[in-house]
Symmetry: C2
Subunit: 364 residues, 2 copies
Amino acid sequence: MSILPTPNSRKHNFSAGPGALPFEVLEEIARELPDFRGLGISIMEMSHRSKEFEGVVADTRAALTRLLGLGADYEILLIQGGASQQFAMVPMNLGPGGVYLNTGEWASKAVEEAQRWGETFEAYSGKAETFRDLPSEEQRFDGPVGAKYLHYTSNNTLYGTQFHHLPRTNLPLVCDVSSDFISRPVDMTRFDLVYAGAQKNAGPSGVTIVVAKRDVLRTFKGDSRVPTIFRYQTHAENETMYNTPNCFGIWVVGLMARWVERQGGVAAMEVLGREKADLIYSAIDERPDFYQGHAVKAVRSLMNITFRCATEALDEAFMAEADRRSLISLKGHRKVGGMRASIYNAVPKESVAALADLIRTFGR
Amino acid sequence: MSILPTPNSRKHNFSAGPGALPFEVLEEIARELPDFRGLGISIMEMSHRSKEFEGVVADTRAALTRLLGLGADYEILLIQGGASQQFAMVPMNLGPGGVYLNTGEWASKAVEEAQRWGETFEAYSGKAETFRDLPSEEQRFDGPVGAKYLHYTSNNTLYGTQFHHLPRTNLPLVCDVSSDFISRPVDMTRFDLVYAGAQKNAGPSGVTIVVAKRDVLRTFKGDSRVPTIFRYQTHAENETMYNTPNCFGIWVVGLMARWVERQGGVAAMEVLGREKADLIYSAIDERPDFYQGHAVKAVRSLMNITFRCATEALDEAFMAEADRRSLISLKGHRKVGGMRASIYNAVPKESVAALADLIRTFGR
């Protein structure tokens, strides 16, 4: 019995997250799922303390370490709770006293959680201009005396903006990289800690990847009331197995990381990502009378492309036509309206070309 | 291409968790995984806000509601972090001031987390007798003035003990049901809140099931510093979709719940569970000179059976013979030693019979 669909039956999937996975990774999962490596049980049925599963965790961490070019002074946690849990864990572990750049929906939530926990400094807010722009490369964010870290969001999923530079600061850098993780080379030595929900560029939902300096993770300096499970130290000292992790999810993150390696790593992902984004942005820019991008051009995202037609009725007609062409999940977030095309690592260039074609033909 | 193993190639899996899943559920997962319900994408590739995934969440909650016989005043959350996160969330939301019955490894961790957060009363400890016994049905645990709730652990995975009664108390009951969830009928109206990691009786790891009175979930009475994501209210008000959940895991929990329904529900699970446990306990009890159970007979668990031979060398020989017969994951936790057979819902009676046979033949 064949249980795999042909690639041809696949939709062109522009979901903002959980996002597309490569077809060959889905094939790998389906093949190995009921009988993992011939062991006679599924990956979902084995103790997380078994040597087989410890091998899966080691493989996943090793593949991510290679992709990110991490030195021995960095380590990777594969935990639960998503970026939203990190909004709380960052100030619980590194704060209070964080300086925040508020550049979008998720950045705003990070600010709110930090404020709930203690003193927090909002050094930038793009809210007044509906988050269509970002701080410039020249701006410095050193923060007041007592500031502990600078937190920002590298890619703003809802608004379609992305930092193409690292913010200037004398503070330790902390970054929510959820929606552009492993999509381009990044000098990780500049960061104290980054975190990502896996469900955009790196796997299924339910796994959170935290990459940080070893001594940042292993030295807890927070309030004594912070629960054991919300301390990075706990997870680091237990080699990310303090409690039962999302075993299936960690395995898939490893498959995805190795898929990125087979494509040529993060440098190749960036080249491909730029080609894909250019296909769409150029189609939009050809008809400025018909399509309007949300983000300021200089900070356009290579991951999430936000645009709209002149009227909501035209937006609806655009999405209906997209649906007829098997292009799905293009509806923009309600706070922005219009369309949003998420073109993460796993979205094939063919899907992006199909969207660019729709943009051109619909605009006529 | 057939990617499914035959049931015959399956190991007899006695893992304490993540535990066995039914073969027919693995088949369902493998069939639907790459192309979910013919939608042209995987369950892992769709927005958690899509109507298809909202349907999956609704189906999973509905199946669990039926299995547990819940009234409209109860509701179900499907969140992340495992029971270990609940050890922190219970006192953050319902405490401080919890009364705890310390009946094993996980109960001890729950006590420690509650103590970290604030005043906590340990009303019982089985530690001195290596947790081989539990409080009797006659004992009352009303707690001191100001006590907020009584927390206990219905089944103690490491030590192989299980409550066969509800503790007597005038306090709201809170229970960690991780390792005997949906394995027997329980009068849920007696509980304010129960929680379970899915990975023993109800699905893969990475999903935590919280079942509680609606007004307990929806009324936050804790400290203002408690992060948004660690408040039950947040998850309840957002219909368990505050942030991206473990989508794949929630789907599998639903498949598992419907599998239990097809077997006849929790009443049938209890009958089968008792038959399975009796097969093993009677084999052990036939040779009291050779095998020794860890738990006092009156509180023996129907889920985790702990026993040992006269010497560690014999234990090792037993497990080597088990391995030759394709019986796996029988090693006891290092704190108890000997063997542990976890016979959750999905462990087939044939596997249990194979173990009982080994116990008899090895004892000769």
